[in-house]
Amino acid sequence: MTPDQAQHAIEEALAQVAPDVDIADLTPDTDLRDGLGLDSLDFLRFVEILSERSGKQIAEDDYPHLATPASAAKFLAGR
């Protein structure tokens, strides 16, 4: 996944999980769980969508990489 694709995937996943959030307000360092108020189920769905989009296995141990849009994009684009 290119960084652009990753960014796009993250925005789309957030739009589904937290439709009330304005993506424009999102900074690269917004904490997704605390900042956007995603609960554990929301977050799981977020991970699920990203995993589907990227075709990448995302283990529980990888969750910390998905804490912010910037770190998530890096994680999805990397490896």
Binding site: D20, G37, L44, V47
Partner: protein, 479 residues
């Protein structure tokens, strides 16, 4: 209009999913109702044929109002003993004539108003050729029989007293969502059952008695309450009759602002009632989550994201199992006494993005495998936020759980949802120094709390409940 939760006193029909003549089964979704808190899919309480849609799309009506009439299938064992049926009893479609008059006697009402309104009956709708004596009219009024539909068997087609009484008996078979109240006087009901029915908002006309001679017992009422539970609670919630017919501007769900306001008001009324009536006591405990989380982590490692469990699933399952083990906390406080529930339907506090909350129930949560509980939980959250919950999900909870762990707080002491008697709370799982075997270690812990109704139980019982949860969480593989 069923009470979709103890905090609801009126609702708006957003959409009908059935029309007259349609066959419906118990549990089928037949309408979408907008309440103060959310749009809700309402299920049929009966199997039969839709006779008439009484409440129009866009109408806002109080709880208890007849939404539609459904003729129950003959196959239903619930049907009262057979009675010779008039050969040409007119049913749907409605005969022409002012339908407004017809609807009046069926309009539901707060119990206190029933007597007064009973006299408004559509007697003048009788075909002009038929003679009906004032006495018969009076009897028909008492029984709530619509004379316009009667075929007289007396001389010259005159309607006799026997005709009226036969019709009244037949009418019992035509069970409406909320059947007309005049029939109540004819049903034998034990005093306790009557009180419980009043508390639960169960219309006795819709209850099938299984007691001696078909009398309605308390158990019958409670069974029926499982279908239409927790109706309009306190008298102050009883809607004014003139509010009954307020036409909504359009059959649209409320706007965001209106929704936020009505949501706060509904929550406010119910919570104020809870704090006014329920003497809460509180207990709390700190539970070592090491085993549970290790087990969970190990299990999730092998699974696709969609099949993974979150810690909340374990907490909910433990809360449900403990509720089954400590039945004094699982049920309702009604009529000055505790009435245990025979299943554990776990109410789940779901906060809505944008404010407010809903508390749908996971049915039989104690019997569900973890994976199943997890998928129900996910499904409920999605549907709660999309406004697609079912009525039964909002009315059946026997104990409620609030899990604020995701919001970062350590503990939450909740307010009980009347008429339930307990609410369990879970905080955030955090790492804390814990002394184990004389040594200090860092372990993940969660603070569990219980708010319980002191009328129904004592703190000793609450303590046993939390201890049980703690024990269960030490054996996650058995959850």
């Amino acid at each position: 209009m069923p009470a979709l939760g103890a905090d609801m006193d009126e609702g708006t029909v957003l959409e009908w999913l059935v029309k007259p003549g349609d066959e419906v089964h118990k549990g089928d979704i037949i309408a979408v109702i907008d309440t103060a808190k959310s749009a809700i899919d309402v299920e049929s309480f009966f199997t039969g044929t839709v006779e008439r849609l009484v409440t129009d799309v866009g109408q806002t009506v109080p709880v208890g109002t007849v939404l539609a009439t459904i003729t129950e299938s003959r196959a239903q064992p619930a049907a009262p003993p057979a009675e010779p049926k008039g050969p040409e009893r007119p049913t749907a479609p409605q005969p022409p004539g002012p339908p407004a008059g017809l609807e009046v006697p069926e309009r539901p009402r707060p119990a206190t108003l029933r007597k007064r309104e009973k006299k408004i009956v559509a007697a003048e709708q009788a075909p002009p050729a038929v003679t009906i004596s004032p006495l018969i009219r009076k009897r028909a009024h008492e029984l709530g029989v619509d004379l316009a539909k009667l075929r007289g068997s007396g001389r010259g087609g005159a309607v006799t007293r026997a005709d009226v009484e036969r019709a009244a008996a037949e009418r019992q078979r035509e069970v409406a969502l909320k059947p007309p109240s005049p029939a109540v006087s004819r049903i034998r009901v034990t005093p306790l059952a009557r009180r419980v029915a009043a508390e639960l908002g169960v219309d006795l006309a819709g209850v099938t008695g299984t007691g001696p001679g078909g009398a309605v017992s308390e158990a019958d009422v409670r069974r029926a309450a499982a279908l239409v539970p927790e109706a309009a609670p306190a008298p102050e919630a009883a809607p004014a009759p003139e509010a009954a017919q307020r036409p909504a501007a359009a059959a649209a769900a409320r706007s965001g602002v209106e929704r936020a306001l009505s949501m706060r008001q509904a929550i406010g009324r119910l919570m104020a009632r809870s704090k006014r009536e329920i003497p809460h006591y509180y207990v709390s405990n700190t539970v070592d989550m090491t085993r549970s989380l290790d087990w969970l982590h190990e299990r999730n490692r092998e699974l696709e994201v969609s099949e993974r469990l979150v810690p909340a699933a374990l907490l909910l399952k433990a809360a449900a199992l403990a509720a089954r083990k400590i039945p004094d906390l699982n049920g309702y406080w009604l009529d000055d006494q505790f009435s245990p529930a025979d299943a554990v339907h776990l109410g789940l506090v779901i906060s809505l993005r944008g404010g407010g909350l809903l508390t749908p129930a996971i049915h039989d949560a104690a019997d569900l495998r973890l994976a199943e509980l997890m998928s129900r939980m996910r499904d409920l959250v999605i549907r709660a936020r999309a406004g697609r919950l079912r009525g039964s999900e909002l009315t059946d909870a026997t104990i409620t759980v609030t899990n604020l762990g995701d919001q970062g707080v350590e503990s939450v002491f909740g307010v009980i949802y009347p008429p339930q008697v307990a609410l369990a709370g879970f905080g955030k799982v955090t790492e804390r120094p814990v002394a184990v075997g004389g040594l200090i270690g860092v372990r993940p812990v969660v603070v569990t709390t219980l708010a319980a109704d002191h009328r129904a139980s004592d703190a000793m019982t609450g303590a046993r409940y939390l201890t049980e949860i703690s024990d269960l969480l030490q054996r996650p593989e058995e959850l």
